[in-house]
Structure formats: C-alpha cells, structure tokens
C-alpha cells in the first residue's frame, strides 16, 4: 500500500474542468495529449502493431460517445476521459511499491516508473479505467496533467497548461486549482453546476464535468400571427396586392 499525503488546509488541487455542453468529439485533446506526452515526462507512449490488426497504444486521454434521452430531449454526448486526479485515489493506496503516488504540493497523481513493478493493481483499482499499461517497458503510465508543461519556464505563461486544454478548438476544457473556491475553474463549476464522475464511489475526483445546458428552444411561434394558423385563406394574388404600392429604392 502507498500512503496519501495528509490533506492540508487550502490544499492545491490541480485538475481539469470538461464542458460536455460544447464538446463535439473532435479528438483534438486526445491526439494533442498523445503528441505532447509521447516525447514528454512519461514518454514514449508506445503503439503496438501500429500498422496492422488490433493496433493499440498508450493514450492518456480517450473520447467516448453515447446517446442519451428520448424524443426532442435526446442528444449525442461526447465524453473525454483521462485521470481525474482523485483526492482519495484507490490507484495510489493499492500500490505495493509507492510507484503510484499523489503529490502533496498540487494533488497530481503520478507514477514513478523507476519503482513501478508493473503489477497493474492500480489499473484494477481505478474505477475510471484511466491507467494505461506500457507493455513494452512493463510499467504503468498515466495522465501527468502535463506536469512538464504547467510549470515549464521555457513556455510562455499562457501556454503553461495541459496540452489537451491548450488545443481544444471549442474551449471545452479548463485547467486550474479546484481547491481554491475563487479560482476561475471553481467559479465555472459553481456557475454551471459541474459535478463528479461516479460520485457515489467517493474517490472524490478533482476533475469536474459540466453538464449540457438545456437547449434554447423558443416557444412555438410562427413568422407572424397571421401565419400561425395552417391553411391560410389568403391567396398569393391577394398577398401580392398588398405590395402593389410598395417601392424599392436603390
């Protein structure tokens, strides 16, 4: 087992806020994540049989899609999923070597590859399926919240955010300190009533999901009152008459 850091008052909880209202499922966050991290802190992210059958590789961020609801309220949902950096991550406490750990300073859950023995207990323990086993190196890998970007002094301050956030064309992803109720991300979550994925499991995920807004459906109203009733008695000829005295001015 591996211990979690003691919670501290004002604990920094870095994480993501993902807006399901505007995600169109374009996969930019998934491939940008793959691209950055392939040569990043946990890279490489191997791809097995990349040009053949059953190609599969290590991805820290995957997009799922499903349909929900019925009738006019039905919708198609795109659901990006990566490590949620839980406050009480079972993937850490289950780790026999301390390879899987949660950072005290910012709450990021990481894997220390040097001491990972590849037992995969963490993958079994994670209810979100967010762990990615590198069968080539025999170690577990996972989302680092782009730890090699967010503090990177070689990047301009505005670029110090995870690759998936920087890239999102619809601005559906936000990064920040969810431990600070005044942070931008906390305010978005409050305003949009963001929530936890599978809250009932009580792992207290730091990442939040913003639900779809209700559709802006206007009340049924036709172009004008006189067109509201079907089968308008007015003939085209009569309608034309109303324009006879109208002039167009160039």
């Amino acid at each position: 087992m591996t211990m979690l850091p003691d919670p501290r008052p004002g604990q920094k909880k870095l994480g993501l806020v993902i807006d399901l209202d505007i995600c169109v499922g374009c996969h930019a966050c998934a491939t940008a994540c793959k691209e950055w991290n392939a040569s990043g802190h946990m890279g490489p992210l191997p791809d097995f049989n990349p040009y053949g059958n059953d190609a599969w590789g290590v991805w820290f961020n995957r997009i799922h899609s499903f349909e929900e609801g019925e009738g006019a309220g039905a919708r198609t949902v795109y659901f990006p999923k990566s490590c949620l950096h839980c406050e009480e991550p079972a993937c850490v406490t289950v780790c026999p070597t301390g390879a899987s750990y949660k950072r005290a300073e910012d709450g990021i859950v990481l894997v220390n590859e040097a001491v990972c023995i590849g037992c995969r207990l963490c993958a079994w323990a994670c209810p979100y399926g967010a762990r990615e086993f590198d069968a080539d190196e025999g170690v577990m890998k996972k989302c680092t919240l782009c730890i090699d970007r967010i503090y990177n002094e070689n990047l301009a301050p505005e670029d110090r955010q995870p690759a998936c956030v920087a890239v999102c064309p619809v601005n559906a992803r936000h990064f920040g300190d969810l431990g600070d109720p005044h942070s931008g991300v906390s305010q978005i979550v409050a305003e949009r009533r963001g929530g936890d994925l599978m809250a009932e499991l009580d792992y207290k995920p730091v990442n939040k999901y913003l639900p779809p807004r209700s559709a802006r459906m206007a009340p049924t109203q036709a172009a004008a009152d006189d067109t509201a009733a079907p089968g308008d008695p007015e003939s085209p000829g009569n309608r034309l008459l109303s324009w006879v005295d109208r002039l167009l001015s160039r």
């Binding site: 996969h27 793959k34 990349p50 040009y51 198609t76 990177n152 064309p169 036709a222 001015s249």
Partner: protein
C-alpha cells in the same frame, strides 16, 4: 519517528521531475495540410525530430487551436507509406509491381510522353488534381501546355455551392464567406459534418453557445456539430431546398422580408420580359446602355442601377415595344407563395413537422427584425451616400456537402442564398459576410477556354480552362454541340461545370467519349479508390486493354502522390511528392484564399524538415517539366528555365498580371505594397518572419456591405482583388440560367441536342426551385427505400489518415449506422452483418444502431475502407477486413432509362451526386458475417516502402524508437 510517519516516508518516495525541460531546439511556423482547412501551425523540433505541433495563436484561420488531425502530423511524417523514389511500372497495371528509377529517367520519360502530345494534340493530356492547394499553378501550367482538360476535385466536392454562390452573390459558403460569428443571434447549419473550415467552425460554435445565440443543425445525422445544437432537425436527405423554400413561403406571407435591402442591393426590382415564345422571354428588359430597367411609381421605366431610383415591387410594365415585363420580386412572390411551398405541403417529404418549419421561420424573422444590430460605424455606399451607422440582421447560415452532393444541389444552394437575401443578411452585422477578396462581380468571370479555335499544337490555351459560362455561346462544345473537354464540362451535359468533372474523366477516357486521350496526369487524387464513384469498375477501366492493339485504353498514366495510395498502383510513372512539412507552398488569392471578412489574407508553407528520401515537391517537378517542354510561361526570354529555383522561385517572381502574383503580401522591392506591386526577392523571408501568413486588416468602415461599399470596392481595385469599383448586385433572379433555357426552347443558334432540351429547359430555372434528386426519381423506392450517406469523421480526412498510427487507432474500421427503429423492424442487433444494395451493386457490412439519425437514412464514415496492400498496412488490418466504402454502390451514371446516359450529377454544374444514393438493407447469413465484401486482390508493395514497425515508440530525436517483429 512514529511507525506511521516511517511508513509514509517509506511508501511515498518522491521522484525528481524536470518540470522545466527544454522543449525544442527550434520552432518553425508553417501551414497545416492534414485537411483543407489551412490552419497556421508552429512545429517544435528537437533532436532532429518533431517534438510537437501546435496551432499558431496569431493565425487568422485557427487562432492557436489545432484539431485531432493537425496534432497527429508527427505520425503523417513518420508514415511507412511514404514513397521514397520515382517508380516505373514493371508489372501489369494495378499489380503494384514497379521498377525504381532515378529522377533523371522519370523527368525524361514524362517530357518524352508530354512533348509529343503537345506537338500534335495538346488536349490529349488530361491533367486533374485532387485536394490540390496549388491550383493557381496547376491550372496555369495546363493552360500553358495548351490543354483544356484540367480541373481539380471540386466537381465531386462543392461546385454546387461555389457556382450557386458566385452566380447569386459573387461569393459562396466556406471559402468565400462565413457567418458573422461574433454577432449572429440565429445560426442555421445545413448538412455539415467535419467539412472544411473545421477549426473556425468549432471556435465559432463554442462562441455561439457561450453567447446564447441559437444554433439549429439541419442534418439527417445527429453527431459532431449537430450534437451540440440547440435544435437538431433530422431532415430527409435531398429535401433541404423544399424546407428552405417553405421557410421563404412563410416569410413572404408574413411580410418578414427586408424590402429596403432588396431595393438597394439586389435585382428584386429589375423587370423581366414576359413574352412566352420570344427569344428574350425571361431576360431583363434593358435600356440602350444595357442597364436593366425598373418600373417607377408613375408607371415609367428607369435605369435600375440609378442611385435613388424607386422601383415597384409588383406591377405590369409596358416596354417601349409594347411587350409586358414584371419585376423579379413579383415572379418570386408568385412562385413561393404558391401553396405547394406551404409547410403542410412539404412536411412529409422533408420529414419535418409543418409546425417546426413554421416556428423556425418565426424564429428567424424575430432574430432578423426584432434583434436588429446597429454599429456606430460610418460608411459610404457605392453611390457615394454616407451612412452614419451599419445596420444588420443577425441571422446566418452555413451549408456544405450535405447540400452540394445532390443532383438538386445547385438550386438548393440558390434557395439558401435567396432566403439570406430576402432577410437582408448578406454582408451585414450578424449575418453572413464575404471573405475578402470576395465579393466578385455578378455574373462572375472569366469564361472558360477550350473551344477548337482556342487550342493549337505547341501553343498555350487561349484563356483559362475553368471559368463561368454566361450563355450557350460560352460552352466548350463543337459545332454539332458535342463536348470538347474529356470530362464534358461546359457542354450541354453540365453547362456550368465551373470546377470540371473529375469524377467522369476515367470513364470518358476509357470509352473514348468524346475522344480518346493519350496521357492522364493526376496529382494527389485517389481515383482508383475512395475518390471515385464506382471504384471497382474504375479500376477495371484503368486496366482495360484494347483487344486489337493490346494497349491500355488509357495509354499512359502519370501520378504524383507522397504516399502509397491505391491510385499509385495504377500509374505507369510515379512522381513521389514530399510531405506537407517538407516543401514550399502558397495559399494564394489567385486560387483558394484564406481571406477573412475583415480583410484578405494568404499564407505559405516552408520546409520544416528536409526529405530523407529521394522525393521532390510536385510543384517543383511541374515547373521543371514546364521548362523542359518549353511552355512559354515557364521559360525565360533566352529559353532557359524561368524559375530555376522551383516553386519558391515561382511564388515570388511569377506575375499573373503586372504587379499581381501568387502572394499579395510584402510586394514591391522593399515589401512596401499589399496586393499589387513588383516582385520582392525577400518576400518569403517576410512571410516566414510573420509566421508564414499575411493579412490585411480593413478599416471598420469597409468591413460590411462590401458588395456596395465604395471605400471597400476602391480598396479592392487598388489591391488587384477586383477590376472595377462597381457594386455587386445580388441576383435573386439569375439571368444567365434563362439564356440556357431559351436555347433549350429553340432560340438562338447554339441549341442543345434533342436529348438534352427537356432537361435544360426544366432545370435552368432562373429562380430556385426544388425537384426530387435524380436517383430517387428513377429507382423503385419500394425496392430501395432508404437513403445512404457518408460523413467525414472529425479526426480523419479522406483516405489520408489510415496510414497514421495514431488516427487509425481511433477509427480503423467503420460500421453502417441505422436508426434503432429501423434495426428493430429488420430484426437487427448491434454488430449484425447486412447486405447493403443499390441499383448498382451491393456490399456486405457490419452495423450499429443509434437513435440520432433520420429513420429513412443509413450512414457510415467516409473513406475508412482500404484496399489490401495499399498504404503499407498489414494485410490483416481492419481497414481491409471490416472497413468498407459506399463508393461501390454509387454509379457515375444515372440508372438507365433508355435515354441519354447522363452522369449521376447535378444537371447545371455536373457536381457528383453521391448523396443521392438509395439503398436497401438485407440481413447477411451467419456464415457471411465477419468480413466486408467485395474484397480485392492485394496490391504489391514497391520495394522501397520498407517495413512497418511492430512497435512504435515515438520520442522526438530518438532514432531507436521502432521495433520490428
């Protein structure tokens, strides 16, 4: 130390993380080419490899974002399907057996083949390019060669949109215009998946939702953009025009139209001659100066372009010769007020309740007329009248392939523009805006060249191979009315085929109809597979021999591609191209610009990496061929190569007209001019220093009403964007269409053949109308009760990305999606296998059920199925075994009805109507399940492709990341 703290220490070892690792050795800006969107990118290089690719935050197209494709550029560069050396066919065509040759031999061979054609009959070269972003060069080269047989892929992509827009507005959806994303209040999107402009649309939709503007998606399938719409209207395919004209009907009834706008900026008041049987019936009544006339309040006639003239909307005019004429508006109102366009009349055909149509018309009217926008910006109109503010109606529309790929697409797109114009929403705040260099004049120019007298051995073509015919006199036909182009563009088959008909080239060349050709030269167009309708038959035509001579019916095929696509195997000579990261390119105002509503813009690609194989940019090769062939535009006065530096030399030094070249930025000796100016030898340096793009920001007063904005029009003339500072009049009624129709009625000297008269008379209606798509009209809809569509996945572009190790993991095989209710009715469960049949063929495919699709529609992802052996994928890849194409079901010809064999295309533009497909679904037997049918013989690999790795461990700068099994 307590036990607990010891344990914590022991079990919580902290690793040392370099959180400020060096990111890159070098950053180079260029332009993406993972799709047609042309976003600006920053390529970070480290250790000789690509560290990562990100969006350029300053770039006008993508403003820093990048999509799933663009962020996978590393894997495109690493593709094992990259061609490495020129190839000459060694086995039979289609075998994939090649001999590797040197460039000298490749160029010499091409010159030998092409020079004899040019010396004898230049039209025997057919030069067609695919998703080519260098059409201003390739088209110019074709014209210099002297062949009219040139086009790019627009004929099966979006020519319906382009042509309808250019004849109506002098602009069009996508490349020539876009919604005023920041101000629109009501936005309706028709038939768009991840088509074109992908990042700008995503950025914009996100903004609409944040601002609370209403977004309605009219699309048979509820995925992607439609998934986040406020309202999804799951229309039946091919009925959009009917739906839109029902909205027009409602707006006319409610008088929710912008009469002031119609008067000032359109031809609504122009008089149309009403003289059935006469040769000028349906044309505009004009004065001696050729100016269209209007009917003034007192009943007199006046010039319709006189500033301030008042024109009646409705009323009979008597012309000086005693004949009758009525305003365009009257014809329009009579037509669309007819009960056949009432919501009740169209609801069933469209699959949209009448109440929904009525409500949407109401919402549009409310946004347009009750949420009017006024910007406190002064501007001057074309007549010199000063306006203290800019007013706009915040309703906007975007449409693309879902409209375009139907045989009624031109008229449907016209209907969309008609709706936009009636609401007064063209180039106004909140409406739809031209992207400069548009608008261009209506009717558009130039006219196409290619008639007999315009072609001569050893001489350039007397004009441009593509253009805009305005009357039968402009057609490219012979005295008997037969087509003169190999694709029959600009013939009576497709008179306004402004982008050509690439989809008919192979069929026609194989038939020798209208004549046999000698050489087919193609560039990045996968015509032996997913870019062809009727793919299997197309490959048969490519390999078919004349039994008497033993020669291929298409004698020579030269093909250039960067990758081992299916088409490569059918070429006799293969010219391997570079990747997009290895060459110079320009996204030119002369071609398909990246301009914005706030000003014109263009951009370049620069080589970010040096090729590691013996390949050359196709544009360099084309320029060298031009010089070796002695094409006037490509040789110096002394007879040597005019652009010895290749494409980058051409980009800087070529002048199409004095002072106007491929790039508009930093012209003049010191880079002091925009648009027009002498070549600047350091122009490319300026582009590179500016992130590889140039944009001109228009002053606030020139950003709207560009079609009638004096200051803008004068700016556009001074920059060389247009020739004259004259207003562009929006054409509700498109007179050139009537000229073709009159010919079909027997007027004039150039008449359509009997086989075409009825068709031309019916479809060349100068006012938009709706008709049943041709395939639906001809097949038995009881036998083929369903529509079948494809859409482009967001993370893939055509066939290009199945070779991409990352993207193919996301989508390596496709399914046929059916509405759950349809699945139930057919007794299908998820992943069941079915036969999908059309009048033309059948395929065996796996299925998936969903709710968000029109119940009469089945659909799948485009271009996922591949041919075994192509793209250097393993033969057991899912792309071959579970992937499939609908192309096998689509005929390039309409179902035969005993009459002329018309193309499966729009009758006006020749646009391929691949969304007209009608199908049926039958369950496959258990023993048939598991692999898709048909399957094809595996293509051999050129030796030089090399082996694909079994494990890929990409890490920038690490040379040892691949493991071979």
């Amino acid at each position: 130390m307590t036990l607990a703290s010891w344990l914590r220490e022991y079990f919580s070892p902290h690793e040392v993380i370099d959180t400020s690792a060096k990111i890159s050795d070098e950053v180079k800006f260029t332009t993406c080419y993972m799709c047609a969107g042309r976003c600006g990118i920053k390529v970070h290089l480290k250790g000789g490899g690509i560290r990562y690719i990100e969006g350029n935050p300053d770039h006008p197209v993508n403003r820093g974002v990048i999509c799933g494709k663009g962020a996978s550029g590393i894997m495109q560069q690493r593709s094992p399907a990259k061609l490495k050396r020129p190839l000459k066919r060694a086995g039979e065509r289609g075998s994939g057996e090649f001999r590797e040759i040197e460039w000298d031999e490749a160029i010499t061979t091409a010159v030998e083949w092409l020079s004899s054609i040019r010396a004898t009959d230049p039209k025997k070269l057919a030069f067609f390019t695919g998703r080519d972003q260098s059409q201003s060069l390739t088209g110019y080269w074709a014209a210099q060669f002297g062949t009219p047989n040139f086009a790019a892929h627009g004929g099966f992509c979006s020519v319906n949109m382009a042509a309808a827009g250019m004849y109506t507005l002098g602009g069009s959806f996508w490349e020539f215009g876009e919604p005023d994303w920041d101000r629109t209040r009501f936005f309706m999107m028709f038939g768009v998946a991840e088509d074109h402009d992908s990042n700008p649309i995503k950025i914009a939709l996100s903004g609409l939702r944040r601002r609370g503007a209403k977004f309605v998606s009219v699309n048979p399938v509820r995925t992607g953009y439609s998934a986040i719409a406020d309202e999804w209207v799951g229309i039946r395919p091919g009925t959009d025009g009917l739906f839109v004209l029902a909205v027009v009907h409602e707006l006319l009834k409610a008088e929710k139209i912008d009469l002031d706008y119609l008067g000032r900026y359109t031809n609504a008041g122009w008089l149309v001659i009403q003289a059935p049987g006469a040769g000028d019936d349906g044309l505009f009544a004009r004065n001696e100066a050729g100016e269209p006339l209007v009917l003034e309040a007192g009943g007199s006639l006046a010039g319709g372009m006189t500033a301030g003239v008042s024109a009646r909307l409705v009323g009979d005019a008597v012309l000086p010769d005693g004949r009758r004429a009525v305003p365009v508006f009257q014809l329009l109102a009579e037509r669309y007020l007819d009960p056949s366009y009432a919501p009740e009349a169209v609801a069933e055909a469209c699959g949209i309740p009448a109440a929904t149509i009525r409500r949407l018309a109401g919402e549009m009217a409310r946004a347009a007329f009750e949420e009017e926008i006024e910007l406190a910006v002064g501007w001057t109109d074309w007549a010199g009248r000063r306006h203290e503010s800019i007013r706009g109606r915040p309703v906007s529309i975007h449409a693309m392939r879902g409209i375009s790929a139907h045989s009624n697409g031109f008229q449907t797109c016209r209907a969309l523009h008609l709706l936009q114009i009636l609401l007064g929403t063209i180039d106004v705040p909140g409406g739809w805006r031209y992207k400069s260099p548009h608008p261009k004049p209506t009717p558009p120019g130039p006219k196409p060249a290619g008639r007999r007298e315009q072609i001569a051995p050893g001489k350039p073509l007397a004009g441009s191979p593509l253009g805009y015919p305005l009357s039968p006199e402009d057609l490219i036909i012979d005295a008997e009315g037969h087509p003169l182009r190999i694709d029959k563009a600009f013939s009576w088959d497709a008179p306004i085929a402004a982008h050509g008909l690439m989809h008919m080239v192979i069929t026609n060349a194989w038939r020798g109809d209208p004549y046999p050709i000698d050489t087919l030269l193609m560039y990045m167009a996968n015509m032996a597979w997913n870019s062809a309708m009727n793919s299997a038959e197309t490959t048969r035509m490519l390999t078919d021999k004349d039994p008497t001579s033993g020669e291929y019916r298409i004698p020579r095929i030269i093909y250039s591609d960067a990758y081992y696509s299916e088409m490569v195997a059918y070429a006799d000579l293969v010219l391997p191209d570079t990747t997009y990261l290895e060459r110079w390119d320009c996204i030119s105002l002369l071609d398909r610009p990246i301009g914005s509503p706030d000003g014109p813009a263009d951009s370049i690609r620069q080589p970010v990496l040096a090729p590691d194989r013996d390949v050359r940019p196709f544009q360099d090769v084309l320029i060298e061929l031009g010089a070796r062939l002695g094409l006037p535009g490509f040789i110096s006065p002394e007879g040597g190569p005019r652009y010895p530096g290749g494409y980058s030399d051409y980009i800087v030094n070529h002048e199409r007209r004095p002072g106007v070249g491929p790039l508009a930025g930093w012209r003049g000796a010191d880079g002091e001019y925009s648009g027009r100016g002498a070549p600047n030898p350091r122009q490319l340096e300026r582009y590179v220093a500016n992130g590889c793009f140039w944009k001109h920001e228009l002053p606030d007063g020139q950003r709207y009403f560009k079609h009638a904005n004096k200051d803008y029009l004068e700016t556009a003339v001074s920059m060389g964007l247009i020739d004259k500072p004259e207003p562009v009049v929006l054409q509700l009624y498109v007179e050139p269409l009537q000229r073709f129709r009159l010919a079909a009625q027997g007027h004039g000297t150039i008449l359509p053949p009997e086989t075409h008269r009825e068709r031309i008379a019916a479809y060349f209606d100068p006012l938009p109308f709706w008709y049943t798509p041709f395939e639906e009209a001809r097949v038995d809809c009881g036998t083929f009760p369903l529509h079948a569509l494809t859409q482009r996945p967001m993370q893939m572009y055509h066939s290009w990305h199945s070779q991409n190790a990352w993207l193919r993991q996301i989508l390596g095989s496709n399914r046929l999606f059916l509405n759950r209710a349809l699945g139930r009715a057919l007794g299908l469960a998820e992943e069941d296998w079915v036969w999908l049949s059309s009048h033309h063929g059948r395929i065996r495919v796996p299925t998936r059920l969903m709710d968000g699709v029109n119940p009469d529609v089945v659909w799948t992802w485009n271009a996922i199925g591949k041919r075994a052996g192509a793209w250097n994928l393993d033969p057991d890849s899912p792309e071959f075994r579970q992937g499939f194409l609908l192309n096998h079901l689509i005929s390039e010809l309409l179902p035969p009805d005993g009459s002329y064999a018309h193309a499966n295309a729009d009758p006006i533009t020749g646009q391929a109507a691949w969304y007209d497909l009608r199908v049926r679904v039958d369950r496959a037997t258990a023993h048939e399940a598991g692999t898709t049918a048909p399957s094809f013989r595996k293509l051999a690999h050129p030796v030089s492709l090399g082996r694909a790795p079994a494990i890929l461990r990409y890490f920038s700068g690490d040379d040892h990341e691949e493991q071979f099994s």
